[in-house]
């Protein structure tokens, strides 16, 4: 169901997080992750992730140029995303993905569909 690289990636993150232990809230959020996509399959996007919740990217509904740049920044299908801080008013918001933190505007985050 998952391409090999995703599984490798997920196990990598798992290890990394176990080592980090409870120092960050990523630990707790990681446990919730598998449940999240089931509630509203196919329709959830990045903006619907609650604080401390994680999701797995399914696809990017954006023009080629934008989605390519997003993928270069780590927003690849199969990768785990966690929302972080935001500008006042909640837009743009920082997302943790693939070892880095990237701020996206709401209209971009709306187009990143979760599994």
């Amino acid at each position: 169901m998952q391409p090999t690289c995703d599984r490798q990636r997920a196990s990598g993150s798992d290890r990394e997080r176990l080592r980090v232990g409870l120092r960050t809230n990523m630990q707790t959020s990681f446990k919730k992750k598998p449940k999240a996509p089931k509630r509203n399959p196919g329709a959830r996007n990045l903006t619907e992730l609650k604080h401390g919740e994680s999701g797995i990217i399914e696809r990017l509904d954006l023009p080629e140029e934008d989605s390519r740049r997003l993928m270069e920044l780590g927003f690849l299908p199969g990768h785990v995303v966690t929302p972080g801080h935001s500008a006042p008013g909640g837009d743009p918001r920082v997302f943790r993905v693939d070892g880095s933190e990237v701020a996206l505007r709401r209209e971009t985050a709306l187009k990143l569909i979760l599994r």
């Binding site: 391409p3 490798q8 693939d98 070892g99 933190e101 701020a103």
Partner: protein, 632 residues
């Protein structure tokens, strides 16, 4: 996607160029610390350059090796992949593939990757290594990786990639000796060899990422723990209430420093320029030459050089903000407000800087990666009320607006008028931004993606190099373009000679132009004297004050009561208001034109900008003159 071809195959064999120094190119993703390493390697032996026709700049530097050998290192724009889609990527792609006409194919490559984010940065390794050039893979920020409990088997990575690997901390300097060692081994025209290992040839990002993940697994890459201090600081700097408060404090600090803090230094520089000009003048015999040197060149170039302290302070600030990582947070906080004008968060600091001087502001737009956003920011920056407009505003306001209290003693009619002019410039800027962004410079709103780098201490070395670099750029322009303009304006104001002496300014070429132009500027309420002032103020806006002083035979400063009285007799209130509006909108600044040409790599944008601003200034000054003349 993924139609990108590895460019190794497309490279045409070039005849080996003898008698030149080897060239080593730096390829790296953004935020990998490549500039820090470049500075480490080259120190001050570097210069910023543009390839013809591109706005993206690169830096060339000489690296001194043992036994007096030298090689060139070229620092290319940071890219995540080698697909030539954006201009940054095209420049990097073309240089690495040897298809850039101005530069021979590099003899070796330094591939710099952030070791704390290796899985993602390894995506760039595949296309770079498939070029077949001798490559040193530099894992930067190795100290961070170690401190945060990450690990990598670098020997295994070297095996996997088929290239030597060096763990380096460019900021601390550890491991840099290995880079020098590699550079020493670089020779001319090393034959391109096929890469040792299987690399994903098609540059499909998911495939490259999967390859990077498998390399990471094979080399036991342990990603480091999240940067704790960054998380803590972000909890404060991006806090819903504390965040904007800190942001506001930073903005006020920048504003105060460039306005108030720079003032004494600028005054000192001004005094130094004036007294050295006088001393220099006393050494020369009284002649047209003396006038050219002292009144033309010395004071003309001096009137621009006086902004250097302000520019340096500003760049010190921007340097600290950028190197520490706060600039990205500031851009995040400012983004929503800027988006209303069609701009983005990264435009905020440059536009704020433009209140001091448009020149450093335009240079500061380099932090905006999106080209259209950057050009839009460059085009509107000169509308911000720069400090060169201030003497003109103060002179006219003092001459025409009687001081009456509006809100207590602190805020009177004059302060209100000055504030009004600041607002006017700001409105012109945002309306122009909206106009540009909804027409010629339209971008998708999704193009805003901002990577938040971890916080780091800015190093004195990097800040110092940045200041030296900026002052070089600025002074070089002062020494060329502005010098030329100063000479031209002096010639216009002092020729033709009558009886071996310079004529009074009204009979000079500038005076003739002023007289000729009078019919064109009369609808604005300006006479020929103002016309001369408009010509001389092309060097720098505040020069008009000195010119008017010369014409009226009064002391040419904005506090000069004599000059204010003379102006009151010679200019209607409508004309005065029109003059203020004209200065608020017109591009009366050669330095700005020169820097826009440099930053946009061509005359197209500065020409558009000059025409647009002049037409706007003329039209608005005309309307102002008409409207104000009805009332007064």
């Amino acid at each position: 996607m993924g139609d990108c071809h590895g460019c190794a195959a497309a490279t045409i064999a070039r005849p080996p160029v003898q008698s030149r120094r080897p060239i080593v190119a730096i390829a790296a993703p953004p935020t990998s610390g490549k500039s820090t390493l470049f500075n480490r390697l080259t120190g001050l032996r570097q210069k910023v350059a543009n390839f013809p026709g591109v706005t993206v700049e690169h830096r060339m530097g000489r690296v001194k090796l043992e036994a007096g050998r030298e090689i060139y290192v070229v620092d290319l724009p940071g890219v995540y992949s080698l697909s030539p889609r954006t201009e940054d990527e095209r420049v990097t792609h073309d240089v690495l593939c040897g298809t850039m006409k101005e530069l021979p194919r590099p003899d070796a490559v330094l591939l710099i990757l952030d070791s704390t984010n290796l899985s993602r940065h390894l995506i760039l390794a595949a296309p770079v290594l498939s070029l077949g050039l001798p490559t040193l893979v530099i894992l930067n920020m190795a100290d961070d990786l170690e401190r945060r409990g990450g690990d990598i088997d670098s020997a295994e990575l070297a095996m996997q990639l088929g290239s030597p690997v060096a763990l380096v901390s460019a900021a601390k300097g550890s491991g840099v000796d290995k880079v020098f060692q590699f550079l020493s081994g670089t020779t001319l025209g090393a034959a391109a060899k096929p890469p040792l290992t299987e690399l994903p040839v098609i540059q499909d990002i998911p495939k490259c990422r999967a390859w990077a993940a498998s390399v990471g697994t094979k080399t036991n890459y342990q990603a480091p723990a999240p940067p704790l201090w960054t998380r803590r600081l972000d909890a404060l700097f991006l806090h819903p209430i504390a965040g904007p408060a800190v942001f506001l404090l930073v903005v006020i600090a920048v504003f105060q420093t460039i306005f108030k803090g720079a003032r004494p230094i600028m005054d000192a520089v001004q005094t130094a320029i004036q007294s050295s000009g006088l001393w220099f003048g006393s050494m020369l015999p009284d002649s047209a030459l003396r006038s050219l040197v002292v009144d033309g060149i010395w004071s003309g170039v001096g009137s621009v050089v006086v902004f250097l302290p302000q520019i340096l302070l500003l760049f010190l600030f921007i340097g600290i903000l950028e190197d520490s990582g706060y600039l990205a947070r500031a851009a995040l906080i400012a983004d929503r407000t800027m988006a209303r004008f069609g701009l983005q968060g990264k435009s905020f600091i440059p536009l704020l800087s433009a209140y001091a001087c448009a020149v450093p502001a335009i240079m500061a737009t380099r932090t905006i990666e999106n080209k259209r956003d950057r050009i839009a920011t460059i085009l509107i920056a000169p509308f911000m009320t720069c400090s060169a407009r201030l003497p003109v505003y103060i002179l006219i306001i003092a001459a025409f607006i009687p001081e009456k209290p509006l809100l207590g003693v602190f805020f009177g009619t004059r302060a209100a008028a000055l504030l009004g002019l600041y607002v006017l410039g700001f409105l012109a800027a945002i309306l122009t931004a909206r106009l540009l962004k909804s027409t010629v410079l339209r971008t998708s709103r999704s193009s805003f993606m901002l990577e938040m780098p971890p916080y780091r201490w800015p190093t004195v070395r990097s800040l110092g190099l940045r200041l030296v670099d900026r002052s070089r750029v600025f002074l070089r322009r002062a020494g060329t373009v502005i010098l030329a303009v100063a000479v031209v304006i002096w010639v216009l104001a002092h020729l033709p000679l009558s009886g071996g002496k310079t004529p009074p300014i009204e009979h000079s070429l500038a005076g003739m132009i002023g007289h000729t132009a009078e019919s064109a500027i009369a609808p604005l309420g300006f006479n020929w004297k103002i016309g001369i002032g408009l010509i001389t103020s092309l060097a720098a806006r505040e020069v008009i004050v000195g010119t008017l002083g010369t014409i009226y035979g009064m002391e040419g400063t904005s506090q000069s009561v004599g000059l204010q009285q003379a102006l009151r007799q010679d200019l209607t209130p409508g004309g005065a208001a029109a003059l203020l509006v004209f200065f608020a909108f017109a591009m009366q600044c050669m330095s700005t034109i020169a820097v826009v040409r440099r930053e946009t790599a061509g005359w197209r944008w500065p020409a558009v900008q000059f025409a647009y601003m002049t037409v706007l200034a003329y039209a608005c000054a005309f309307l102002t003159n008409r409207v104000v003349s009805i009332w007064f």
